[in-house]
Structures are given as C-alpha cells and as structure tokens.
C-alpha cells in the first residue's frame, strides 16, 4: 500500500503513457513530468503567497487577506486575474525586445533548475550526472535576465536595482557554490540523487543528514544566508527596497510580466530551498528510520515548505542591510568561513570514522566562527559605510 503511495506519481505517468505506441512513451513520459512540474510549482506559489501575506499579517498583529473565499484562500486567484487583465505598460524609450525577453528568460531558467531536483524516490526529471553543476549554471543565468530587465527599462531605479541585485547575487553565488562543494566532497558525486542516497542511511534511528555534522551545520548556515541573498529576500532585499528604489528592477513592469517576475522570484525560493533540502536535509529521506513508510515525496515537500516558512518568518523579523554592509558581509565574513569550512570537511574526510574527527572538526568550526566574529566586530568591518561610485 505505502509502496504504491510512494510511487503513485510514477505509476500514474506510466499508466497514462501506456496508451501510446512504445516508441513515443519515453518522450511522452518526460513531457508529462515537465507538465506536472510546470503545473505544480505555480500552485505552490499561489499557496505560498497567501501563506506569506497571512503570516506577515499575524506577525504585524493584523489579519492578512481574508475577504476572497474562505479565509482569503482564493486571494491568489483574484491576484492572478488582476495581473492578467491589467494593461501592459512599456516605457516609451525602453528597449522593447529586451524588456519583453527578460521575464520570460527568468521564468524559463528557474523552471529548468527543477529538472534535476529529486522530489522523491525515483522522482527526478533528468538524473544528470552533473546535476548540481546544471542547477548552478541555471542559477547563474538568472542574473542576466535581471540585468536585462533593469537595463532595458531605462529607469535609474531599475538600473540601480538591477546592479545591486546582480552584484549581490554574484557575491553570494560563490558562497552558495562553495558551501555545496563541502557536501560534494563528502558525497563524492555531483548527482543530486546520489547525494540524497548517501544521506539516506540511519544509525540509532537517526539519519545521516549532512546538517548533523559540524561542517554540515556551518555549511548549511552559510547556504541559508546565501540563499536568502540569492533570492533577494529580506534582509537582503536591497534590489527591491521600496523605500530606496521604487521596486528595483521590475519597477517598470506591469501586468502579466510583473506577475512573471513575482512568480520567478518565488520559484527561485522553491528551487533553492529544494536544493538545500537535497544537499543538507537528506532530500526525500525520512527524519527517523521508523517513519520510513511515509511516502518520500511528502518528506521532500514538507521540508521545502518548512524552509519557505523560515524565509517568511525571517522576512517578518529582520531589518534590511545596507549595500556596503551586504558586500562586506559576503566577502569578509561568509566567504572566508565557507572556505575554511572546506578545509574542515577535508579534515573530516581525512580523519575517517571515529570519535576524533567529531572532536577536531567541532573545535575547528566553533573556533573559526568565534574568531571571525571577533575580528569582524573589532575591526568594524561591518561598520560605517564606504561607498565608491563609478564615474
């Protein structure tokens, strides 16, 4: 029973394609799963928007949207209709083609990122050997689209926002990459499915997720920070800081394109959370060995939604950084720690199983964290601003 429930989607797909002649089945199956992904995540997106607005509302001691539908569940539908029916305004001197292409590129690229995420046992679109690399390649391409959007709008707010966004994303992408390299070093593979398999073992009923190792914990913390910056979420939402530049790079977008950007941003959140889940939280594996009977995809999506909730929580909690603080934080604090963490991971790998590596690695991790914090604070690296404008 539970087996079938676990494999339900695969069975469904196979059942659907078995009507076709055998030659077409494989491609048809792929198409089906693509459609499933394209259908599923926007739905999640809709759900999340409600969740976020209501959650934020509660944090600010007010009720969120509660007019459309029971408890405002239908709010996203209303929003969607509004976005679709709105007039699509393109600024007069804007670069029409680029202005049009930017949101499309963003959404397409973000969607492609999902192709390599294993969302359950045997539930991955393309089990690519270099899956992680593919994911990051796609992630890297989003910056281009954001720049296109900002530049093509011929609006200084948009351009500034885009510049900020791109600078910040590049800076934090390095961190993102390096903190996942730690996992790759341990799992010995770039294939996300293999990484999940590597974590899907238990001792004393507890899973061997990488977050439960000293280096893994540090790497995950850094990953989470970088992920927030990568998706331009608070406290790293300078690119769209309303108080500073109207809405950042999509100031000049309206109607459906705006909705696309919105969608892209949330999809980015999903995919990054999915990757984090896969890398550190054991992907679709159950948190306790005795819970193994629960279908794997349930675990995956619950973990993803959990991290989304953390995103929302942080947005409701933290104030916004300043641009120079952001950069200093990336290059002078997070990056060094991540690099050092690679070293720790190597030591972990080198020492081999046994108590010593726990002892040594924990000491190192705590040590580096304390030392970096101390020096950073003492030198006032995160202190007063120091801008330089390009002339």
């Amino acid at each position: 029973m539970m087996q079938t429930l676990d494999r339900i989607f695969i069975l469904l797909r196979d059942w659907l394609v078995h009507f076709l002649p055998s030659a077409w089945r494989a491609p048809a199956g792929t198409v089906l799963s693509v459609i499933a992904i394209i259908g599923l995540f926007p739905a999640l997106f809709a759900l999340t928007t409600v969740l976020e607005r209501k959650g934020l509302g509660r944090m600010q001691n007010r009720l969120g949207p509660n007019r459309t539908g029971p408890l405002g569940i239908l709010q996203p539908v209303a929003d969607g209709i509004k976005a679709l029916t709105k007039e699509d305004v393109v600024p007069f001197r804007a670069d029409a083609i680029v202005h049009f292409l930017a949101p499309l590129l963003l959404v397409v690229v973000v969607f492609m990122g999902f192709a390599v995420l294993p969302m359950g046992r045997n539930m991955v679109l393309v089990d690519m050997d270099a899956g992680l690399l593919f994911f990051f390649a796609m992630g890297a391409s989003t910056e281009l689209s954001i720049f296109m959007a900002g530049w093509s709008s011929r609006n200084k707010y948009s351009l500034l926002g885009a510049m900020r966004a791109v600078a910040q994303m590049i800076s934090y992408e390095i961190v993102l990459l390096l903190s996942s390299v730690a996992v790759v070093m341990t799992a010995g593979s770039l294939s996300l499915t293999k990484i999940v398999e590597a974590q899907n073992t238990y001792s004393f009923g507890l899973p061997h997720w990488y977050i439960f190792t000293p280096w893994g914990l540090l790497a995950f913390a850094m990953y989470a920070i970088a992920a927030m910056a990568e998706t331009n979420r608070t406290p790293f939402d300078l690119p769209e800081g309303e108080s500073e530049l109207v809405a950042g790079y999509f100031t000049e977008y309206s109607g459906f394109k705006f909705a696309l950007f919105f969608l892209g941003e949330y999809l980015g959140m999903f995919s990054i959370s999915g990757l984090g889940t896969t890398l550190f939280l054991g992907g679709w594996s159950a948190p306790f060995s005795f819970l193994g009977w629960v279908p794997s995809w349930i675990w995956f999506f619950s973990k993803v939604m959990l991290s989304i909730c953390v995103f929302i929580w942080l947005r409701g909690t933290l104030p916004r950084l300043r641009q120079d603080q952001l950069m200093n934080f990336a290059w002078k604090f997070v990056l060094p720690i991540t690099l050092f963490n690679l070293l720790v991971t190597a030591i972990w790998r080198f020492l081999g199983p046994g108590w010593p590596r726990w002892f040594v690695c924990t000491a190192l991790v705590v040590g580096i964290y304390v030392v970096m914090g101390e020096t950073g604070m003492r030198r006032g690296k995160f202190g007063p601003r120091s801008y330089r404008y390009a002339e």
Partner: protein, 687 residues
Amino acid sequence: MHAETSFALQGAASTIAQWLWLIPAVPIVASGVAALLKRPQRKLSSTLAIGALGFSLILSLVAFFHVLSQWSAGAPTREVVNFPWIQVGSALVDLGWVLDPLSAVMMVMVSFVGLLIFIYSTGYMEHDENYTRFFCFLSLFAGAMLGVVISNSLLLLFMCWELVGFTSYLLIGFWYQKPSAAAAAKKAFVTTRVGDIFFLLGMVWLFAQTGTLLFYNSGAGSMESSALQGLLAQPAALGLTAAGAIGLLIFAGAAGKSGQLPLHVWLPDAMEGPTPVSALIHAATMVAAGVYLVARVYPLMQGGALTGGSTPALTVVTWVGASTALFAALIAVAQDDIKRILAYSTVSQLGYMMAGLGVGGVAVGMFHLITHAFFKALLFMGAGSVIHGCHEEQDIRKMGGLKHAMPVTFATYGAGMLALTGVPIFAGFWSKDGILEAAQHWSVAETPFYLLVLGALLTAFYMTRQVSYVFFGHYRGHGHAHESPRVMTTPLAILAFFAVLLGFVGTPAWPWFQSFLDSRAAGVDFARLGEAGLLMVSSSLIVFAGIGLGWWLYGSKSPEASAPDVLEKSAPALWHLLRDKFYIDELYSATVVAFFWAFARVADWFDRRIWGGIVAAVTWLFSAWARFNRFLDARGVDGAFDKGCEELSNGGGMLANVQSGQVQAYLRLLAAVVVVLAAILLWSSRA
C-alpha cells in the same frame, strides 16, 4: 583518498597508541599559538599552556592505564606505530612512536610534574613582563620532552632531544638582560652539544649497521634480537662489541644532557634561569632525558649479557655514575647558593641513576628517576618559594628562621629533604636503597658501592646544612620573609604527598614498579625484605649519621651571615677546593677554551697576513691589467662602436614609426602575418 589509508600503521595498535602523537603535539601547538598571539595576552597564554599540558596528562594517564591493563592481563605491553618519513637513496627512514611501560611511566611523570610546575609558575612569574613568552617556551619545552619520551625512532628522539636542548637554552637565558644568564645559556647549549656530537655519531653508526633507527618494529627494530645479534657479532675497538661502542657513544650524549662527569659544568650555572625552569629542567625532564635515553638503548649496552653479569659499556656507565655521584655531593657541601646546592645534588642523584642503570638494569635506575623527579621538583619549587619569600635572595647565609615565616614551605621542603637524603619510608629511601643493593651485588667491582654510600652520607650532610641554614636559627636577610601565595604552595603540597608515599610502589618486598617496567608479574614476598634488610638498616644508619653531623655542625647554633663557614675554619684548603668546584671550570677554560682561543687567533693572523697579502697582490695585478684595457678601449674600440650605435639608432628611429600605439594596428599586423605564414605552410605541405 579514503580515511582508512590515511595512516600507514604497522601492527594492530590500539586507538590510544595511534593517537599517542597528540600528547607532545598539543603542547607544541599551544606554544605555537601563544607565539602567534598578536599582542601578549598573559592570562590566555598561561591558560593555553596549562590546558594543553593538562590534556596531555589526561591522554598519558589513559595510555598508562591502557598499558597497565595490558600488563595485568598478561598481554604484550609494547605497541608501536611507525610510518615512513623520507627515503634517502635506497634506505627508507621510518619514524614512529612507542607505547610501553617505560614510556608510559615517563610520560605520566613528565606531564604531571610539568603541569604542577606550570601552575606554580603562574604564581612565580606573575610580575614578569615576559610572562607570555615564558609560557610559550615552557610548553614548547614540555612538548619536546614528551616527544623524546614517546618516540620510537632514534632519529625522532634526536630531533626532540635537540628541541629540548634549544628550548632549555631559551629558558635558561630567559632573563637575557642579565649577562650571567646569557652566558649560562650559552654554556649549557655548547656543553650539551659536545655530548650530542657523540650521540649523532652513534646514531649514524647504528643506522649504517642495522639500516633502521626504529627501536621496535615487530622484530626488525634496532633494539630487537635480530639486529642485536648482528651488532654483537662484530667487534669494535678495545674489546667492545659494535653494540657496546654505539651504546657508549649514545651514553656520551646522555651524559651531556644529564650532567655526568665531565660534562656536568653547565648544570649548576643553569640556575641563572627562573626557578620553575630549574625545577623543570633539573627535576622532571631534561636531565631525566639522559637517563631515559640510556634506559631506551639499554639492550645495546646490556649487549646480550644476562642481568647481573656486565659488559664494558655498562661498567663505564657505572663508574661514571658512581664517581659523579660522590664528586657532585662533595661540591654541594661547600655551596652557599640555595639553588646551586640543589643543582649539585641533582648532578649527584643523576649519578646514582646512571650507576643504578649500570649495575641493576633499567628498573632500578628508572625507579630512582621517577621518585627523584618528584622530590627534586618539590625541593626546587620550595627553594623558589623561599627565594620568593626572601625578596629574590638566594644566599642561604642571608636566610634563616623561615620555619615560622613560611610554615607550608618548610613542611613540604622538609619532606622533600628527607626524601632526598633517603630517610626510611620516604620515597628516596626505597629507590636509592635499590641502587645501593644492586651495586653491592655487582659482580665487576666493589668500589662503586662505597662511592655511592659515601655520596649518600654527604647528601644527608649537605641537605641538613642547607635546611638548618634556611629554616632554623633567626632571620638574617633584609626586609622580612612572607609565605608564598596559594597557587605556589598547593603544588608543593601535592608533590610532598608523592615524595613521601611514592616509594611504596617499589619496595623490595613488593617490587611492583620494577616488575611493571620489566613487564614481569608482580608478587609480594617479605623474604626479600629480610635479605635487603641488613643493607637498609646500615644505609639508614649512614643517613642518620650524615644528618646528625650536619645538625651538630650547623643546626644547633645559628651562624651569622658574615661569619665564615664551620668547615672553612677547620679545613680551609679542602673547603676552598670544594667551594671552587675542584676548579673544573677553570681547568676547562685553561685547556679547551684557551686552546680554541689560541687557534682562533692563529687563524685570524693567518687570514690577515698571508691570505690578505695574496689577495692584495692579485688585486693589484688585475687593476693594472684593467687600466691597460681601459686604454685600449678608449682609443681603439669605442670609436668604431659609437659609429655603429649611431647608425642603429637612426634605423630604430625609422622603425619606431611602425609602432603607432594603436592596439588594433598590432592586432592587424599579427593577423596578417598569421595568414601569410599559414598559407605558406599549407602550400609547402601541399604535395
């Protein structure tokens, strides 16, 4: 690479054996960190050092109990971990560390006493401005010493050995602004070098013979039968076997470190260092290193002869030890500096250990080493506390009556003194008595035994003299004395405890310690007590005689600071001979040092006159030749050359126009050339 293959382990060593290297590594790392601190942070550095050594102590205890359990289980008690270090030609040099009763006992002793000394130093050095540096050196020293203890390879041992020497140099010369301290440090360093040269020779010889420097390597080590047979087989000079000769060379190194005749001169001068250093160097570690080394290479010396029987090498060791024991004791009688007296007594006690090794085997010597480490550390730290209390006064004639002023110090010091003199039931009694007994039954000669007995008498005498000077009578110093802080007295108390009781692990009735070292089963039989009883009684009688004599001469009446010594009044000549240490230093400076001075002067003269002259002549010739050349150049060559240059520069000027400064122009040119060349190439390879 997988973690499993990270260490090239040999033999199935237990976890603790595999991680043994942490014991020396941690203090060394700690000292490195202390050295790298941006600005001196006193608290942090001392905490670091103490914590590191404490960690080593814990690990050593773990190791010790591991060995203990192995032993009591009757399992083999020696575990080694070896790994290849470098490849010299075809020979592969291995390093490694060993865990056996000997090293286990040593490392526990070193780290424990060392830890106490560290704690003590936090009090003693409190007002020193180079506190941080001091602790950096201290823990480096401790780490190096532990390295000596655990190393399973003569080479590794030698490295750590040199490191020990170097750090002792740093520590003795810690107050380098005092010229005497600097000189003492230099002296210590150079003198020990003399021994180390022989050590190095012996090592090289050993490597040449056996092709390995590992002590134990599952049958292939140099201390194991297969290698030993080869060494014993082939004779060296003077009826020594190669084994014996190598052993003696290494012993020379040991003698240098642990101040045996004739290399003892540096040790008393080393008193210039801070007192904790003296305690560390003279009591626990450095001087012990020599004895420990001899114990390590004992198989070489013993050279197959059964215990009881002796070999030339062992005979030499015995004689050197015995004579040192008496000699140093004699000198100690006539010293006035509290620490110098202790230093000379250390030398003489080391003599006892060496003699013990010579006559009685590893266990006897090592037992005395251990007990001595405790009570001598106690005495030194007590002396330090006394000096501290008397405002940095070291002359015992300027002290006195301190038993009221500093009761804790007095009590502990007294315990240490009794242990050193060998009053029954105190630790020193058992260990020294073991040595005496072994010496008595020694097959080769009687004399060493009597030397040692005489030494014992003198020991009792001078210790009594010192104590009565320091603690009895009335205070003769300036200011008034005060008790030392708790952080200094507590270690004293702990050490005193051991100084009193430690002896019982090795009584003749229950030779637990000895049998542990020889990894035999321990047993209790009081019959042995009976056998040894006569000697015990007599030796304790001798000790009491010494004490009584000392008390009669010094204790009863409290002499004035300025008044000449009692002995001086009775036998001035002898007194001055002793006081000036048999003029050994003068002898050396008159012979060895003077010789090198003369040699240096000769070389200098030679340099100035002969070589200088030749060089000057050559210089003159060349300069003359150069002048001639210049003449030729100026007249002949230049003219033509200038003309050529002119032409060239004109041509360059023309070519310069091609270089327009336009990047793309260069690129164009490049592309064009590429096209042409490629075309030519293809065309030519057409056929």
